[in-house]
């Protein structure tokens, strides 16, 4: 967007926004002043901003998500206030209302629920499986900072440039440049894109953590149920999030390069966007709710003092939900006229999900059956969840009945339904989890009385707010209207609903009060305040920075419970023998790289090349810096472990144990690395899976649009096969030579390795040169990305492959330098193995490009 005057840049004109400007400015000044006055900048940088400790990253996730809950909640209350009085009142102008329902949805799902979920993953999973950290601590930090920068970029739109206003999923053509010419949609795309990359990496990280880093003896079927739910959620993440990445990228290409994926003209297909976004969007709902199911499973067992009922059923149910979630997306648009066959199919797949969900409810109930239930705060929230989710699930089944959905679709009935499952399921679940693990994380309990106030306010507020909305839906009130007339009869219900909304808001204030109160009057607890069953409760609270002084040996489900029972019978653990612990070093790379992402995103939003270029260079530079950095870990001495444990044992639980690495920096060489290398290889394989989905999605869009030439050139007009065959031959040969490089490496032949890598890189470079020449020639002939939907899809698909090859080339050169310097070590071996895998993968993709795009194109 061209900025000509200041008011193009800053959002102006609304007193609410000026108020927010002032509040934001003052808060920032206050933070800076406070940090300077208390000389905390260094502390902030060393202990938090650069930390790779999963527990601290978890805490930062939780704080950020609570802030976002506040903003999303304020949005909600603004909307409810507007709806409380119809017609005459214009508390929010219609445009402003559009902004707010859009940001409310995006923030609550992507910047509140997701990070709160990741926070709980981080706080709990490594402790539950007896691990010292996650598989990739630095990547974990990067995930957090990407989320954070993405969230900030999205929120900046509130005061700079203008908010998005095309709904939380930004359906085109409304979200296209034609109808949304402002920068709001670009903030939307880049905010979600950047944080989405972070989510994807968290998914990979936790899958590897759970599959590879469990304590010895913890078989898969002995894992705590929360860990299972995280696994199923992460599997869903790695399969669903690449689709989101592609979808938003295509929308961006439409807006930025004038392509025609989803436009009204030149063969674009808006319905394709709706399909794609829901292929991610529906699994996304299960991504956030599955961990809540895990949390409830832990809590119900703990507070009933009983083993979880039907463990096998529970695991099967979780996994089947995460698989079935991919086959239901079309139920979000039964009214798009897909015909009876399609509607019936998706209706049935949708209702099938109710079966495993129902089974889980029965299993929770029968976990309580014949137990001794105490109603502490976590259990209260669980008890509130069950009836709420049952009713929400029932309305869900009602909505899944396609012909009936014609009457519910996009009405307040739907609004009430998804709020009931998202608040009743996800929010209640995460609150329960926060209350449950709070003592674990901080070493003190939250005040019970204030917590109960918050609980009842939330619960009563919830029903007062959303039950009337079911009725409103049946009365014909549709979503996203900012005004209605008196004769509709909607007013009274809306008014009641608004009261409920504010009750929940007060509930949230009580929770803030509860936290502040509990910090002030700290009620310290020992390691295991609830009578826990799983490993996280076997160590002091808060956990020392290395988690487990001694890696536990697991013999059964609920291993901590079992060990406590043995101890009660007088069986003693042998005295601990401490050993040095291998730990990752803190790093500033993630936050710096994320800052560059922010700069890049902001640059793209305003189309400012002077920001885009430094952003992109910065990202590449930090990545290369990380690639060349081999000083990533250190050892904690046995002596320090002994001291820390003794201190924790004395009850000094809040002892501030920081990873003061510089003074304990023992370089033990890379002897302990063979395990780590296996982890990293596995992580890379999962990354390749996500890349497969990215290309799969691109192929799908190409298949949809390949005939939408809009009167422009077809493949037969454009493709010149001799050149393409040469490209193919060169790329296939390079795959062969990269294989030869790996063979040389396995023989220990450093020269051969470097030599073959050079050959591979040269072949790759000539492939890229040929491809770029081909593209330039086509563009010269008038076949641009903006010429037709077919060409948009063509350039994007082939261009994405080309981009992969180019990145691979830079990476290959970096690795050559590393091998030249360090020789063939386990680390360089793994890296070369990975790039070779990547290179073969690109070859396979190219074979598909060659056959599907070029050979079928010229036919």
């Amino acid at each position: 967007m061209k900025i000509t005057k200041l008011s193009d840049f800053f959002v102006t004109g609304d007193p609410l926004i000026y108020g927010a400007d002032v509040a934001i400015g003052l808060t920032m000044v206050a933070i800076v002043v406070a940090l300077t006055a208390f000389k905390r900048w260094g502390w902030l940088w060393r202990e938090w901003l650069t930390t790779v400790d999963h527990k601290r990253i978890g805490i930062m996730y939780v704080i950020a998500s609570l802030l976002m809950l506040f903003r999303g909640g304020v949005d909600a209350l603004l909307m409810r206030t507007q709806l409380a009085l119809p017609d005459s009142m214009e508390f929010l102008k219609p445009d402003h209302y559009n902004d707010i329902f859009t940001t409310h949805g995006v923030i609550m799902i992507l910047f509140m629920a997701m990070p709160l979920m990741f926070g709980l993953f981080n706080l709990t999973v490594p402790l539950q499986i007896g691990a010292r950290d996650v598989a990739f601590p630095l990547l974990n930090s990067l995930s957090f900072w990407l989320f954070f920068m993405g969230a900030m970029l999205f929120n900046v739109s509130f005061v700079i440039g203008g908010s998005p206003e095309a709904g939380w999923l930004a359906y085109p053509p409304l979200s296209e440049k034609m109808f949304s010419p402002g920068v709001g949609q670009d903030f939307y795309i880049w905010g979600i894109q950047i944080s989405g990359i972070g989510s994807l990496m968290t998914g990979i990280n936790f899958i590897v953590t759970i599959l590879k880093m469990r304590a010895p003896g913890m078989k898969l079927m002995k894992m705590p149920m929360f860990t299972w739910s995280v696994l199923s959620s992460c599997v869903t993440i790695i399969l669903a999030f690449p689709i989101l990445t592609v979808t938003l990228a295509l929308l961006f290409i439409d807006r930025y390069f004038g392509a025609h994926f989803f436009t009204l003209d030149m063969g674009g297909n808006p319905m394709m966007y709706i399909n794609l976004i829901w292929m991610w969007g529906h699994p996304e709902v299960y991504i956030v709710v599955l961990p809540a199911f895990g949390i409830f499973s832990e809590i119900v067992a703990t507070f009933s003092k009983k083993r979880l009922f039907g463990y096998g059923s529970m695991v099967f149910a979780l996994m089947s939900i995460s698989i079935f979630s991919f086959f239901t997306w079309a139920h979000h648009f039964f009214t798009m006229g897909s015909g009876a066959n399609v509607n019936a199919f998706f209706a049935v797949t949708t209702m099938i999900i109710a079966i495993p969900t129902g089974v889980k409810i029965f299993n929770w109930l029968f976990t309580m059956y014949k137990g001794k239930i105490t109603f502490e705060l976590p259990m209260l929230w669980t008890m509130a969840f069950i009836p709420c989710f049952i009713v929400g699930g029932m309305t869900g089944v009602m909505l899944s009945v396609a012909p009936a959905d014609f009457q519910f679709h996009n009405s307040y009935f739907l609004i009430a339904h998804f709020h009931q499952v998202l608040i009743g399921g996800v929010v209640f679940g995460y609150f329960a989890g926060l209350y449950y693990w709070w003592p674990k994380v901080f070493g003190f309990k939250l005040n019970d009385k204030l917590g109960k106030w918050a609980f009842w306010l939330w619960n009563i507020g919830f029903y007062v707010c959303f039950m009337p909305q079911y009725v409103l839906g049946l009365m014909g009130m549709t979503r996203r209207v900012s005004s209605y007339s008196w004769d509709t009869g909607w007013w009274s219900w809306n008014f009641v609903s608004t009261i409920g909304g504010f009750l929940m808001g007060i509930g949230f204030l009580f929770q803030v009060w509860q936290i502040l109160h509990s910090i002030k009057f700290m009620e310290r607890v020992k390691g295991d305040p609830w009578g826990g069953r799983t490993l996280e409760w076997s160590i002091p609270s808060p956990a020392p920075f290395y988690n487990f002084a001694i890696t536990p040996k697991v013999e059964g489900r609920d291993d901590w419970w079992r060990r406590k029972e043995l101890a009660a019978k007088g069986v003693q653990d042998p005295p601990p023998k401490y050993e040095p612990i291998h730990m990752p070093k803190n790093s500033g790379t993630p936050i710096v790289m994320s800052l560059f992402w922010f700069i890049l995103g902001f640059g793209f939003v305003f189309d400012w090349l002077w920001l885009i270029v430094p952003g992109a260079i910065g990202i590449a530079a930090t990545m290369l810096y990380h690639s060349f950095n081999y000083d990533t870990d250190y050892y904690v001495t046995a002596e320090e472990v002994r001291k820390t444990e003794a201190k924790a044992g004395e009850g000094c639980l809040m002892a501030h144990v920081a990873a003061n690495q510089s003074s304990h920096d023992h370089d033990h060489g890379h002897d302990g690395h063979h395990d780590l290398e296996a982890l990293r290889t596995m992580g890379f394989w999962i990354f390749i899976i996500t890349d497969c989905i990215i290309f799969g999605t691109l192929f799908a869009t190409y298949a949809v649009l390949m005939n939408s030439t809009a009167g422009g050139p077809t493949g037969a007009d454009l493709f010149e096969m001799p050149g393409v065959i040469a490209e193919t031959f060169i790329l296939l040969t390079s795959s062969f030579t990269s294989g030869l490089a790996v063979l040389s490496m396995n023989r220990g032949d450093k020269k051969g390795l470097i030599g073959w890598l050079i050959v591979t890189a040269l072949l790759g470079a000539s492939f890229i040169t040929l491809e770029v020449t081909e593209f330039l020639k086509m563009i010269d002939e008038g076949a641009k990305i903006s010429t037709s939907a077919f060409l948009s899809a063509f350039y994007t698909l082939v261009g994405t492959h080309g981009l992969h090859v180019s990145i691979g080339l830079i990476w290959m050169v970096a690795l050559m330098l590393q091998v030249a310097k360090r020789g063939i070590t386990p680390v360089t071996k793994r890296k070369i193995g990975n790039i070779s895998l990547y290179w073969h993968f690109l070859d396979v993709v190219w074979i598909f490009v060659f056959t599907i795009v070029y050979m079928m194109g010229v036919r």
Binding site: L174, D265, Y311, G337, M398, Q407, H409, Y463, G476, S483
Partner: protein, 326 residues
């Protein structure tokens, strides 16, 4: 302490229930009170599925509270405590089985109704159906009566007991067309010709709307441009007066012409305004759906611009609106 919580909740629910009762007196819950065949079938379906769901949900709700109450740790009675009991094949088979059965029933009903109530399926009737073309424009609905040669804006009228075939498209962002009293909604999308069949069993001066799926609600500047739209909106609200269009006697006349149709089932939209410029364009663009197998109507053919090399080749399809055969 414990009882106080439950008591509080009950106490809070009481006024809520009371309020619900009072409020429901003045409500007109249109979906539950359909005036047309399709809407009635859809209501049947809603009742059937709700009933089937309730078979399982009511007992589970009761069970939840009963178990939580009976096995609370503070219970005076000493109940059985079996901390190790965590599996029972018999019980688990039962609660896998019951939901499967219920869902199976709902699925069978759903599939049957999916075919029966498919929106593009014509309604059987002795009366000859009437066709109304619907175009979602920026902020308003345009209705074309091709057989009568008239058009209306934000106002549609058709005879009772006569099947209506709506042919729908959009010349703006997506919208969704919904007449809750007669039956379910359908999207209107640019480049797509959708079909929706509805019938009104009785005359009525009913309702409004199409919902604005993703459209911005009246912008401030639009309001200014349109002068006193706001006051007219109020008029619609209070007096149940149909606002036909915003801006000129010409269109009002056309709308009255539509009013001369036999019978009366009137849809009023909480009308906004009309932009003169768009209407002609739309009429031209609404092509019969049979032009394409998929029903997609291609808008805007390739613009006239310099034709590159491929133009010279023979045998390729130049027009975007026909898919190449496979």
């Amino acid at each position: 302490m414990k009882y106080k919580g439950w008591f509080l909740r009950a106490a809070a629910l009481l006024p809520l229930a009371l309020m619900t009762f009072l409020l429901s007196g003045c409500a007109d819950v249109v979906v539950l009170d359909p005036k047309g065949e399709i809407g009635k079938h859809q209501l049947d379906l809603i009742y059937i599925t709700t009933g089937l769901c309730l078979i399982i949900i009511v007992p589970v709700l009761i069970l939840t509270f009963w178990i939580a109450w009976k096995y609370r740790a503070k219970s005076k009675k000493k109940e059985a405590y079996q901390p190790e009991w965590d599996h029972s094949t018999k019980l688990e088979t039962i609660w896998w089985g019951i939901p499967i059965l219920i869902i199976l029933l709902i699925a069978i009903v759903t599939v049957q109704y999916s075919y029966k109530l498919e929106p593009s399926k014509a309604i059987a009737s002795e009366n000859k159906p009437i066709t109304i073309q619907v175009v979602a424009l920026d902020w308003k609905w345009l209705f074309l009566y091709p057989e009568q040669g008239i058009a209306t804006v934000n106002y549609v009228q058709f005879p009772e007991k006569v099947p209506v075939q709506f042919q729908l498209t959009a010349d703006a962002p997506m919208n969704s067309f919904w007449i809750p009293q007669l039956g379910g909604q359908i999207y209107t999308m640019s480049g797509m010709a959708m079909k929706l069949h509805l019938i009104a069993d009785e005359p009525g001066g009913l309702l409004r709307y199409g919902r604005e799926l993703q459209r911005r609600i009246l912008r401030q500047d639009d309001l200014q441009r349109e002068g006193d739209v706001a006051s007219r909106l109020r008029q619609v609200g209070s007096g149940r007066q149909a606002i036909v269009s915003g801006d000129g006697p010409g269109r009002l006349q056309r709308a009255r012409a539509a009013g001369n149709l036999a019978g009366a089932f009137v849809l009023r939209f909480p009308c906004r305004f009309v932009r003169q410029d768009r209407q002609q364009v739309c009429r031209r663009r609404l092509r019969p759906p049979s032009r394409r197998r998929s029903g997609i109507v291609q808008r805007r053919r390739g613009r006239s611009r310099e034709r590159p090399r491929y133009e010279r080749r023979a045998g390729h399809e130049r027009h975007g609106h026909v898919r190449r055969g496979r």
